[in-house]
């Protein structure tokens, strides 16, 4: 290899000023500097905090995470009820033993699957994961079943869904009584 052409020297950093030039802060100056910089720092911190807080509104127009979904008799055995998918992101399913509710968030990367009545399965539009009506995954990349959310009976006898409680099959949580509403 031929010698590389000479590179121009990088601009040298200015030589550090002699140590004496780093002038000492006197006792007289110190309180002013401390108060001045302290106030500046506090003002900047307050401004940044306010800007950060601004991104989190006090009121959300999202539907509540707990809602009543009607009386148990409104749900037919063996039917996946998709009426609450749009607004609350849950499917309510009644089988021989009772009612459970599935979260509509695909356990692969978080898209929303569709219930395909003819094929009796949930199918995700994103990468094709499939789930049975029970929520168990059987095809595609989803690594685990859909999560179930809390179900109970409200005082007025309606089905009460609590989305703030999540139950994972693989953690054995589907046996938790709060994840299932037994009906005879």
């Amino acid at each position: 290899m031929p010698d590389p052409p000479a590179q121009p020297a990088a601009p040298k950093p200015a030589p550090r000023r002699a140590a004496s030039a780093a002038k000492k802060v006197t006792r007289r100056e110190f309180p002013f500097l401390a108060i001045g910089w302290g106030m500046f720092t506090a003002a900047m911190a307050a401004g940044l905090t306010a800007a950060g807080r601004f991104m989190f509104p006090n009121v959300l127009t999202e539907p509540p995470s707990t809602f009543t979904a009607g009386f148990p008799d409104d749900f037919a055995i063996g039917v996946v009820d998709t009426r609450f998918k749009e607004r609350y992101q849950v499917w309510i399913v009644r089988d021989e033993e009772g009612i459970y509710a599935l979260s509509t968030i695909c356990t692969h990367l978080g898209c929303t699957p569709n219930w395909l009545e003819a094929e009796a399965k949930f199918k995700c539009p994103c990468h094709g994961s499939g789930f049975y009506a029970t929520g168990i995954n059987f095809e595609g990349p989803a690594p685990r079943p859909l999560e179930r959310v809390g179900v109970s009976l409200a005082e007025d006898g309606q089905v009460l869904i609590d989305k703030s409680r999540l139950f994972k099959f693989e953690a054995g949580q589907w046996n938790d009584p709060a994840s299932f509403l037994p009906l005879t």
């Binding site: 052409p5 601009p11 999202e62 978080g110 994103c126």
Partner: protein, 266 residues
């Protein structure tokens, strides 16, 4: 005959270049001498970001591929076409998709949207190629480490521009892409609900980080992709990120000069 036309033209030209308006803008003669050429570079706010002198070998096409320059050009194209799109596009769930379709079908030169979209893809590619060139020529070495750092931030900004722009058409592809992409923010350390260490941020038995206040929420403005998300992405896409990118580009070009011009071939 020819002279009858040229003489008044050159007189008018002289009149114009001697006027106070002209001399107040251009404070140097024609760039015919090296001195004047240097003055041209230094007395113009845009040109002064450039080195006054460049080594011939350093600006050879086979050395730089002009990739940084192409990237900058594409940024300018995207700014211009994006600005035009903004005259028609409304960032609401109700109108966004229809406006995009109308942009192509009801507006003369509907190709503007194509230019913006293809330009965006091209810019992402050229940014990577530019970075590859800089790496392969070892141009990240001192004294250029800082400019490499600025470049990394510019790369991230370009990708974020792409990511935020991708949601704006509000079609199925867009919504699911952002649904999937923003799920990554759940895993932010400390600030994401599912991220490392965030479970340890508790007050008594209340956990401080939840789906309503974590990093993903700040991005989406909601717990799932919806109207607040479209608006946030729109503002970031059209104002926040381009401003930040333009600012850093100025620093980037300035540093090219301050670090001694484009590096020489190895």
């Amino acid at each position: 005959m020819l002279n009858r036309i040229l003489a008044p033209l050159s007189a008018a030209w002289k009149e114009a270049t001697d006027s106070q308006v002209w001399t107040s803008i251009f404070r140097h003669g024609k760039p015919v001498s090296n001195r004047n050429r240097a003055l041209v570079m230094m007395s113009n706010v845009f040109l002064h970001l450039h080195p006054v002198k460049s080594r011939k070998a350093g600006i050879k096409l086979r050395y730089t591929w002009c990739m940084g320059g192409i990237t900058f050009f594409l940024f300018l194209v995207l700014t211009f076409t994006g600005l035009l799109l903004m005259f028609y596009y409304r960032p609401t769930v109700e109108y966004a998709y229809a406006d995009i379709v109308d942009l192509q079908e009801h507006v003369p030169l509907g190709i503007m949207r194509e230019l913006h979209r293809w330009g965006a893809h091209a810019m992402v590619i050229t940014v990577w190629l530019h970075m590859l060139r800089v790496f392969m020529t070892g141009s990240y070495k001192p004294p250029r480490e800082f400019n490499w750092g600025i470049g990394v931030v510019l790369l991230v900004l370009t990708l974020l521009l792409s990511f935020t722009g991708y949601l704006l058409p509000w079609d199925q592809l867009a919504i699911w892409a952002i649904a999937v992409g923003s799920n990554m923010a759940r895993a932010t350390p400390l600030l994401g609900t599912e991220g490392p260490l965030s479970a340890s941020l508790t007050l008594g038995d209340i956990s401080l980080i939840n789906a309503g206040n974590d990093a993903r929420f700040a991005l989406l403005g909601a717990r799932s992709v919806g109207q607040p998300t479209l608006l946030r992405f729109y503002v970031l896409h059209c104002v926040g990120l381009p401003l930040a990118a333009a600012f850093l580009m100025a620093v980037h070009f300035w540093r090219v000069r301050k670090d001694g011009g484009i590096s020489g071939p190895m």
